[in-house]
Structure formats: C-alpha cells, structure tokens
Symmetry: C2
Subunit: 328 residues, 2 copies
Amino acid sequence: MATMRDVAARAGVSAKTVSRVFNNDPHVLPETRSHVEQIMKELNYVPNVLATTFRSGRSSAIGVAVPDIVDPFFAAIARAVDTVARDRGVATLLTNLGDDPGRERDILESLLSRRLAGLIVAPVGVDHSWLKRWTDSTPMVFVDRAPAGLSADTFADNDEAGGYLATHHLIGHGHRRIAYVADTLRLSTETNRLAGYRRALTEAGIEPDDELVAAYVNDRESTEAAVTRLLGLPDRPTAIFSSNARSSMLVVHALPANELAVVGFGDFPMADILHPALTVIDQDPDQIGRFAANRVFERVDHPKRRLRRTTILDVTLIERESCKVARH
Amino acid sequence: MATMRDVAARAGVSAKTVSRVFNNDPHVLPETRSHVEQIMKELNYVPNVLATTFRSGRSSAIGVAVPDIVDPFFAAIARAVDTVARDRGVATLLTNLGDDPGRERDILESLLSRRLAGLIVAPVGVDHSWLKRWTDSTPMVFVDRAPAGLSADTFADNDEAGGYLATHHLIGHGHRRIAYVADTLRLSTETNRLAGYRRALTEAGIEPDDELVAAYVNDRESTEAAVTRLLGLPDRPTAIFSSNARSSMLVVHALPANELAVVGFGDFPMADILHPALTVIDQDPDQIGRFAANRVFERVDHPKRRLRRTTILDVTLIERESCKVARH
DNA sequence: TTGTACGCGTTATCAG
DNA sequence: CTGATAACGCGTACAA
C-alpha cells in the first residue's frame, strides 16, 4: 500500500506536490504533474480515504439506515439514494436497523462516528432527542416516518390520506364491513393509516368497529388466526384494508381466493400478477429516496439555507382487481 | 463533539488514561476508571471511529457489495451477513454495484480505501486481478460467483447441478421440448445453469436445441418477445426453465396461465402464492451470507489458517404446482 | 510553482 | 498504574 510519501520520494518531489496533483490543483507544472502521475501509476497509489476524511473532517460518503433491507420498499429507497449519490461521486453506506428500537441508537451512532457527509434514516425508535448532538455536524434526513423528540428534515407519505383513500375506495364498491389489518400499531405510520381508515368510515356514516381491527399480523400463524377470527365474526367483514405490504402478502396467502375484497397499503413485486391482482396504495419509494438524497446534498452545499422541514408526499391508488371482489 | 483530550483535561488525567478506560485496559485503578467514566458521560463523549481506525489500522466494519439491493436474493445475503456481524459488534456497510461491470472497480476500491476489516462481494465484473493488491490487507470473500483472474474465498451455489435438477424434473413430468430462458449469458452462474440444462437433456437422449434458448430476458418487452417467439415455434416447447428469479417473475407474468410447465432458478417472495404456485430451485441466500461472514471473521482472527478456498453449496428443488402443468 | 511545519483524534512505545 | 511523546496519511497555512 503505497502512501503519498512513497510516491513523493520516488518522484523526487514533496508529499504536498503529490497531494496537489491528486486534487487537480492548477498550480503544478504540467511536466511535474505528468511525472508524478506516472509514478502514482507505477506504485498503484490509492489515497487513503480514511486519512483524507479524518484530516478534512468532510467525508465523501452518506449513510442510509432502514428497518429491513429485504423489504422492497426500503430497498427501493436505498437504491434511489445510491443513484443520486453516485452521480455526485459519493458512496452510499447502507445499514439494517432491524425491528428492535433499543438497538437503533447504537447502530446510528456507529454510523455517525464515521463522520459521514449525511445520514438518511427510516427510524424504528421511539425517541431521537439524543441525535441533537449530531445535527449540526451531520445533515440528517428522515424518511417514511418523522423522528420523535427532534425537529429534522422529513419526507413521509401521507399515511392518513392513504388510509382514507383505500377505505373510501372499498366503500365505493359497496362495502360497509371493512376490516383493518396491521402489523404493529406502535409506529406513527400505522396509526395514521388507521386514522384515515376511521375517517373514511365515519364520513360514510359507518361506525368504526374495533372488532374489525386486527393488529400484530406479521407471520403465517398470526395471519391465519386473524383471518379465521374475522371470517368467524357474526357480522363478518366483506373487505379488508391491509395497512402494509408485508401484511398484504400474508393476508393474500391466508385468504381463500376471491373470498373478500382487499386493498393493500404499499405496492410490492408480483402484486399485479396475483389472482386477483392486488389493488394497492402506491408510495413511490423511488421518489422518497431521490428527494431525501437531494436534500442531504442541499444541506451540505448550503448549510444556512432555510427550507421547509417536513414534506408530505401524495400517495395514489392503483386499481387492479382485488377491490372488485363481490360482497357475499 | 468532545474529544479524548477534552475528557482528559476535565478529569485531570492524560489522554492515554482515557483511552485505557475506554478500551477496558485492566491497568487502571478502579477509582480512576470510575472518575473518567463519569466525565465521559458528562461530556457525552463518543470516540471518533475514524481516528481509531486510522491510527490502529484495524476497522470494526465489514463491507458487502452486491449487484442489486432490491433483488431479494442479494438482500437476504446482506441481511444474514449483518446478523452475524452484529453479534460480533461489527457494523456492516452495504453497497450497490449496479449492473455495469465497468463501475465495479471504482466502487469496490472506494470501499476498500476505507480500510474495512473485510469485504464480501457478489461480483458483476469480468476481471478481478487488480484486487490482488488488496488481498493481504483485507480478507475478501466472494459469494454467488467466483472472481475472475483471482484466487479467493468463494461460496457459490452449484449452478450446474441446479440447472440439471430443474431440467431433469421437467423431463420426469414427461416434457421433451424444454425452453431455457435467461437474462444475460455473460455471467458464469448463467452459463453453468445452461450447462446443467444441456446435460440433463443429453442424458435423457434429447438433443439440445438452440432455438429453445432465449437470452436477454430482462424487462417486459424482451419477455413478451421471447415468449411469443417460443410459443410460435413449429415444434413448440411444453415447458420452460427460467434460469433466474427476475426472469421467472417476468415469464410468469407474460405467459398465459397454465399454458406451459415452468421451473425457476431461485425462490422469491410470493412464488408460492401464484396460480399455479411456482416450482423453484432454492438457493438459501441466508446460508450463503452466514458462511461468508463467518469466513471473513475466521480470516481476521487466524490470518494463517489454511482453508478450502471454494465452497459449492447444494441447491434443492421445491416442488409446487407449475411443474405439473400438463403438456398440450 | 514548490516545499516546510503542523495538526486532525487516537493508539503504541517506552519511561517513570 | 500512569504519562509524555511520536506516529498513522493527508491537507492547510504560510514561507520560499
């Protein structure tokens, strides 16, 4: 591993000159430059990014932290960020937070202590006030969910509107007994979707019924149990609003085909090939990722510029077939 | 951002003592230790990982580079690596390579120049000889595909056996005209699967027919075109072997339901919910990720230990319904 | 145009 | 057990 000094010694110049050549400083004689470049090639010189970052305090990488890389929604956000960052010659470092809120701080702090140029987080924790210490040294952007106990740039979907849209659409198809299926109800995204669901019902003169809300649907057993319970209800539902993609996949799997109408929150690969093809609320993770990445760079380039902190993105309904299943 | 010196000054000790406390060096008086710990808490001291890594040369992070994070196969590998690394208190930095072989080197070199403890790569490039320069400073493990022009630890699936298994299974269901659908034919994984396909045919006394091989199936149009061509053949196929998950999703989408029997290489979410549910060759990405991560740490802990370089993992056939579609 | 001195935050060495 | 000093590789400030 050749260092700058090695190159300098071999080229008969000072380390500083090598540095200048590498950073395209114009104040170098063309002949000196080409000579040094020659030696750099010979020695296969690669600058130690660590030393550069350490010295300058400015890193050329941004971090992305998401609850679960395997979730196509978060994967798509990450890829979009990577695309934007790469255009700028910036590397993207992705990390999995997992679903344990208690670990979030350790993981994020380990990322931050690498002195990244910026950080994009889809949080799982319940408190982010401890991040204040980092906010003036590292631009931070939250996606999917806003932070708790901290004011920061946020790009989130209009979950309430999405919940409303889905439910309203099912009501439009004549349904009045509509079940709500969720994973955890701890996160604000879920509670907002639930609120939208309730608003649509109330607006249509339907009394929300807590018996129709099934939470903690996150694996095959819990889904089977929830579906069985719902179908066994005396006044059983004719439709289901599944509030996240993972639950949607599970519900579609557990439900006898064409038994109930279904609308899911969050599109996923293959949703359009199912029988019946699943009607969904689309979140456009690609857009979220691009916005978040651009915001990070905007904060890097213009630290003082004043910008609206919170951006709520519209969601749209993609109508396919599952919403048209007839009421039994 | 308090530094070690700040803590040292406030605690009335030297920086080295703070360092010792932080690194649990036993040679510190308990009272000194608790006093320093107190101050560290007061000042919210977080060590600068960058400086530590820079100085010591030892990083506490490993890198993972995959062609596409959104592909559930690679995402699962990455998550498995992360799980193993976290148990060891090591952070995982994930990066997207994209499908441009030309960019691979830049991206990997940018990761390596951060002086990671190890690197796990699912390569997309055609030459990796340039990596030799890094191999003695950074343990490297390849997954999914072996490197080209470089000898390194590799955990790959038995692609040839998988291709054979799938084709043999279809032959067992009475098919003799079996099409082979692929994305690129550039990568060794694909050519090995193709070799297995040919071996199964030959072994059954069936002459491989190049007209039945459709390559470059990677988006909706190319898939439509390929399927139309295959179905229009005078002696048209009665079954398809799709050699990767992405092609499988596309083929299943483009094919009229129950028109041809299908077996796909690589399982994916929802494959079991399709109509008919897709029979697949399962690759167990979770196992690959765990193996790769453990190997990295083994190389870190025991640099001199001699280990078998290449590990070929068995694949299995998950029989569902799509292989049973009758011959028309 | 080029070079010298110094420091970023931490750890290794060696002395006390 | 504790501290002073040097060094990791590079960039900044200033001098030549």
